[in-house]
Amino acid sequence: MAGSNYLWLIPFFPLLSATLLMVTAGQLPKKIIGFLGAGSIALSALCVALQAQHFLASGEIMQVTLWTWMSVANFAPGIAFYIDGLSIVMMSVITGVGFLIHLYSLEFMDDDSSYSRYFAYMNLFVAAMLLLVMADNLLLLYLGWEGVGVCSYLLVGFWYRDPANGKAARKAFVVTRVGDAAMALGLFLLFTELGSLDIQTLLLAADSKWQSGDLIPTIATALLLGGAVGKSAQLPLHTWLPDAMAGPTPVSALIHAATMVTAGVYLIARHYSLFLLAPITLEAVAWIGLATLLIAAFTALAQQDIKRILAYSTISQIGYMFLALGVGAFSAGIFHLMTHAFFKALLFLAAGAVIHCLHHEHNIFKMGGLRTRLPIVFWSFLIGSAALAALPFTSGFYSKDPILLSAWAMPNIGSYLWAGGLLGALLTAIYSFRLVFVVFFGEAKTLPNKQPGWKMSLPLALLCLLSIIGGWFVLPLDHVFPAYSHGEINHSVEIISIATPLIGLAIAYGLFLGKQLSISGFTQSTLGKALQSFCFSGWRFDALYQLLWVCPYQVLAQLWRNEPIDYLYRGIVSLMQWSNEQLSKLQSGELRWYATSMVFGLVILVLIMLRSLS
């Protein structure tokens, strides 16, 4: 079952299941819905496992064209897959973590009336995401890209009866659309310049046509970066992700932590040779990553909603991935993508379990003392947070450390990037253990009314295992990216990098558990309060965008509501109606008039023909 002939099965199973669930519209018995929903992903994961084994054994890059949609003139878009080490890693994460989350959902969504709709969307999402990472050409990649966007919209607004959820879904859709528009322009530019949409052909053509630093690749990569920034919730398009937490928690785990939001990272990594031709864009990637990781980390410190903390931490961790890509450490970026998928999915699922067992409570200050009452969840959270904070010997440590060292090794700007990344690591440790200490220690404020069952516990346990051992995985990326080595690094730099999370842990302990440290004097002051509310609001980005874009737009819309633009469109409508009426009058049904009109037409034709004589 391995080899290029069976590749189509991988996205086919989820797609088939999604279709079946949509067509039957919830008429199936619940057991079958669950069986289809989770089973299709399990089959798909099995296929990926076989393919990965085949790939690791043979190292053969697979390229298949399932069929060419149509080939007219020079345009021949095909449904074609390109499977190399990078795709294999992404596919494994998507189907592996995806399956665990589906399994978890079976129990989490058990009492929801739209059980079937939920699994239909989730399966469709997995299918689209698989297309995105398997695509051989940009058109198919874009199909997957838009597909995951639509599924994200549908799932954020899953509980659509609450208008706030609908609003969050719209925000997620519209903000990423800004990036998507940039990306579409990038695709058009690449197509017109290079005459191909096949990624590999295009990359080769770009290498031979352009020199490093040329204008066109810089513009093209900047536009692609726009798409990546929107999808991966980086500055300045990151504002949608915290609001997207309105969806069910497993959705947040799958789409807004483990897979979809890392599509931007994948996009840049897939086109790395193009980005190498545009050093300016690549440096911009690093700076965007750094700025995002710091801003998001500060914001996470001030949040009170358990899911929003995790959302900001996701934004921050993707910032690290961007940083890694920006300094040219592509493998390190993808490695962090994978470990992040493990521990962040774990954290979200654990948070979901807390919320599930605690009457849908989101505020961490209303929780507390859950260590003894939800032991499985506690241990999951502890391991997840340790990995997130990159404590030594967790998977996060093995993936974040190379990023920091690669940043240091960057000429000229390296030390700044490194210092920023280090500050981020410190903050990460503080906010993640703040979460652990506040939620699981201290006195209990709300008592759980149920315990997670096996369908929720098993994924948690497996993800715990992955979060610990994930750091020892060796990814087959050697032939994908150019060999990268950050050279000899000063030992003191390494030691500082390792020590920082531990210091963060100590600070968090002092602040939130042992209470040896107190900053209440500072937080009570006017400046402290202002700073806290500034961070709480996510650095006022929403307010800024409201002021800069939404309000002017609304004012303009209000002003123009009955104004000239509309007259133009209404004019077209009236013109069409009027000409329809006039022309209809000619259709009198009278034979003599019809015959006359034919003669008229003939005379006119003859006259036109004879004009050529003069």
């Binding site: 149509m70 022309l583 259709q587 034919m598 034709l605 023909m609 004589l613």
Partner: protein, 481 residues
């Protein structure tokens, strides 16, 4: 005439012999079921016989007919369309005419005419095929003798179509007077020696364009279309709109290419003008139409306008191959789609006595009562509108790229504008179909049965396949052109 010649003409022979057999059957035993079954068999056999006939293509059989793969492909298409029309007619003609047997005879004769047009390589066979097609159609349109609309439609069509044939003949006579030849290729060689300012030649081309323009219902020769489409029995309308149109367009294309008419700039200008007018006028006329049959008839005017773009593109030799490929694909897609749309109309009707009229209100709520039929109509309409993943999209995309490769910006603008207007009235029907009516509302009559469901499913699959996996057909067209 050798055996190979006869074999190359096999589909025509099967149809002719079939018509004779059916006539004999009607003379001895009057039995509708038997007649319709025999008709289905004849159409199936004729379509199948195109397969062995391709082994002998291409070959000129007498100066009149050319049996190339394109002709055989379209012959097969027309026979299949005849098959579909027969299935649709079985239910429709029940209780409509006194003696429905001859209806099938006329249908076979009419299809034979269309197939002869596909083979035609000579003005003589052109006239023969066209008259065979048209004369049988007059009778087919008027067949339901119990109501007034079909009679009105048939008499209008008879008079106007006769006039158009006369115009066409006059044009051919002038051509003959100039060149002394009637074969398409001969005409091409002879005309090359003529000065392009020859008045007789110019008038002849105007007359031919007018005659064919009428048959294709191009503006300004389109007036008859809505009345005839509306009055004709729905299966016949489907046949008229798909097979008759496709056959005549294919013939026009052949004449245009083989007689090298593309050399005359004035003719190209006239074609461009007629194309733009047809696209705009057709779409605008369909805009507020409540009668679906009339709406579709106006939309067919627009579609013929789209097709005419291809003839203009043929003007430059670089793009001619792409243009012919585009035309063939469009004709096939259009035939399947039109048959599906009119097929649905012949299956439903609100009033038993006035089955020729199908109004928007009649399809209201169809989704909730007849999901399969409504699905067929949905896909047919989306295909007509040119929405991706349907046959219509690929066909339109073809025309688009052909027009762009020839830099015909004016035609492209009209194509885009026309398509934009078109979306409105196609979607309007879908909107009506998805309305939720009060539970008491039911359609007065809908046909059902396994033959209807399997036919609808097959048509749906064909339209979707042509839209999602058009590559095999494209490759085949490229290989035979």
């Amino acid at each position: 005439m050798s055996t190979a010649d006869l074999l190359a003409l096999l589909p025509l022979l099967v149809l002719s012999v079939g018509a004779l057999l059916l006539m004999l059957q009607i003379a001895f035993i009057r039995n509708v079921q038997f007649s319709s079954a025999l008709t289905l068999l004849i159409f199936a056999l004729a379509a199948l016989s195109c397969g062995p006939a391709t082994d002998y293509a291409p070959r000129l059989v007498t100066p009149l007919l050319i049996a190339d793969k394109l002709a055989l492909l379209f012959t097969a298409l027309f026979c299949l369309a005849g098959f579909v029309t027969t299935v649709l007619s079985m239910d429709y003609m029940q209780r409509r005419g006194d003696q429905p047997e001859e209806y099938y005879l006329l249908l076979i004769l009419s299809s034979l005419g269309a197939c002869v047009l596909a083979y035609a390589e000579h003005l003589g066979s052109l006239i023969l095929g066209m008259e065979l097609l048209s004369v049988a159609l007059y009778a087919l349109i008027a067949y339901p003798d119990k109501s007034i609309l079909p009679l009105e439609a048939a008499s209008k069509y008879l008079v106007l179509s006769g006039a158009a044939s006369a115009t066409l003949l006059f044009g051919f006579a002038l051509l003959y007077a100039i060149t002394g030849s009637l074969g398409f290729s001969d005409l091409g060689t002879q005309l090359a020696t003529q000065p392009s300012g020859n008045i007789m030649l110019l008038v002849a081309m105007a007359l031919i364009l007018a005659g064919l323009g009428f048959k294709l219902s191009l503006v300004p020769f389109h007036m008859w279309t809505p009345d005839v489409y509306q009055g004709a029995p729905s299966p016949v309308t489907g046949f008229l709109a798909s097979v008759a149109k496709a056959a005549i367009f294919l013939l026009f294309l052949r004449l245009f290419i083989d007689a090298k008419l593309y050399r005359y700039n004035m003719l190209l200008n006239c074609l461009a003008l007629v194309a733009i007018l047809s696209m705009l006028v057709g779409n605008v006329l369909a805009l507020q139409q409540d009668n679906i049959k009339r709406m579709l008839s106006y939309s067919s005017i627009a579609h013929m306008g789209y097709l005419l773009i291809i003839l203009v593109v043929c003007g430059s030799s670089n793009n001619r191959a792409l243009a012919i490929e585009a035309a063939s694909y469009y004709l096939i897609a259009y035939t399947a789609t039109t048959l599906a749309a009119f097929g649905l109309l012949s299956l439903i009707s609100a009033q038993q006595q006035q089955r020729e009229n199908v109004l928007l209100d009649d399809v209201s709520g169809l989704f909730w009562q007849q999901p399969l039929l409504a699905g067929l109509m949905l896909i047919a309409l989306l295909s007509l509108a040119g929405i991706p993943l349907t046959a219509g999209f690929v066909a339109k995309f073809y025309i688009f790229s052909a027009a762009i490769s020839g830099y015909h910006w004016g035609l492209i603008a009209a194509l885009i504008l026309g398509s934009a207007i078109g979306i409105y009235y196609y979607l309007r029907v879908i909107f009506y179909m998805s309305k939720r009516n009060s539970p008491s509302y039911t359609l007065a009559s809908t046909a059902s049965g396994w033959h209807i469901s399997s036919l609808s499913t097959a048509l749906m699959i064909i339209i979707l396949l042509l839209g999602t996996a058009p590559q095999p057909l494209m490759a085949y067209l490229r290989s035979i052109l």
